[in-house]
Amino acid sequence: MKAPDFAYLRPNTLEEAVAALGRFGDDARILAGGQTLMALQNFRMASAEILFDINWIPGLSDIHEEPDCLVIGSLVRYAGLEASSLIERDAPLLSEAVGHIAHPAVRNRGTIGGSLALGDPAAEMPACMLALNAEMVLCDANGERRVPADEFFLGLYETTLRPDEILTAVRIPKARPSQCYAFDEVARRRGDFALAGLAIAGKAEGSALHSVRLAYFGVADRPVLAVSAMAMLEGQSLTAELIDRVREAAIGELDPPDDPATPAAYRRHLGGVLVARLLGQLRERLL
């Protein structure tokens, strides 16, 4: 299938972009890496009147550091994340997660901002933002606002982004030496969207864990935190018995959708398998 007819706009600066977005708003759709949007267009499932190509806007493709956080431009490609030593040092969870996304040719083009703005429930990046307590930077003609990941993802392909806003960057608190993290997912084939996945980040003091965030993907209409399981981990050292209880709690609070190919019970079960496996890994690392 060929994409339906549309018009194309290529702003050269952020100011131009937000001004134009303000003008065309609802009829326009931002084109970043296109690794989702182009496929939807080709299937005539998305048919925006105007595609708004932000790839020419300078300054959205950088990763830079501030004292406490990394600022990742929304146009940074997955391949850029993979190759970045800053990310490896200050956000190692992302380095680990990004290799699970799709395949090299898709990672060369797909952007972190596109993934977050899309809000695919089975995507890796949104869950990582949740686990890392990141902030999204959103810009419109009037300026910018910052939205914590906890508040950004609203539902199936739904975020707090307004039609006249651009996601310009994400701000990720830098990993401290005490940070502990783990990541895994279950997919049928290499690079497939996950059937279920889990990103974990927290602090370890001695063997005790603090502020651990368990961010699941693929098990709900958006990335979700397993809140009661997280509470059980607070201040505790990992034992086999605790891991077992956390697993039970996590399974208890997951309520995945049912679809003809993948029953809800299967995704929920995977939620338990993943949390037990990843906490088991953390336990070994902390020993």
Binding site: Y8, L9, L51, A102, P104, N108
Partner: protein, 160 residues
């Protein structure tokens, strides 16, 4: 560009030749290369980014030709199988593919070659698992993949 338009005039380089073209904005890159420029070595297998048959090289990086608009290649340096073949940079891979019969119908082959070459640029000594991993986004229905993996491994071995 501050007003939306339905066609765009662009200038790019394709296989080391300058190309100027006015394209409808809705045309994707692989259709442009195939239908407008006659570079039919890039193939279309799904148009949704999964099969990898449309892989081309954009500014040195492999990409899905079906998931980019042609106008987004404005100012870029594009290389397709035709250019890569003529430059000779694929010769060792092509010879190994040929010797080992790492292709049957050949529909996936140009993209496999470009993808394999991209791997070898990044990692001159990939393991078999790394090769399989890197090629995991390129569907081949005919071969069992094994000879493709063997061919890439053979070239990697010969490089050093």
């Amino acid at each position: 560009m501050t007003e939306p338009s339905k066609t765009v005039q662009m200038a790019l380089r394709v296989n080391r030749e300058s190309v100027e073209a006015t394209v409808p904005v809705r045309r994707n890159l692989v259709d442009f290369l195939r239908d407008d420029l006659g570079l039919t070595g890039s193939h279309v297998g799904c148009e949704h980014g999964v099969c990898g048959a449309c892989t081309v090289v954009v500014d040195g990086a492999i990409m899905r030709g079906c998931l980019m608009l042609a106008v987004q290649a404005d100012g870029c340096e594009i290389e397709t199988i035709e250019g890569a073949d003529q430059s000779g940079r694929l010769a060792a891979l092509q010879a190994a593919f040929h010797r080992r019969n790492a292709l049957q119908c050949g529909f996936c082959t140009p993209a496999m070659l470009l993808t394999a070459a991209a791997l070898l640029e990044q990692n001159s000594k990939p393991s078999r698992d790394e090769i399989r991993d890197y090629l995991s986004g390129n569907f081949c229905r005919c071969t069992g993949y094994q000879e493709i993996v063997d061919a890439v491994a053979e070239v990697a071995g010969a490089d050093t």
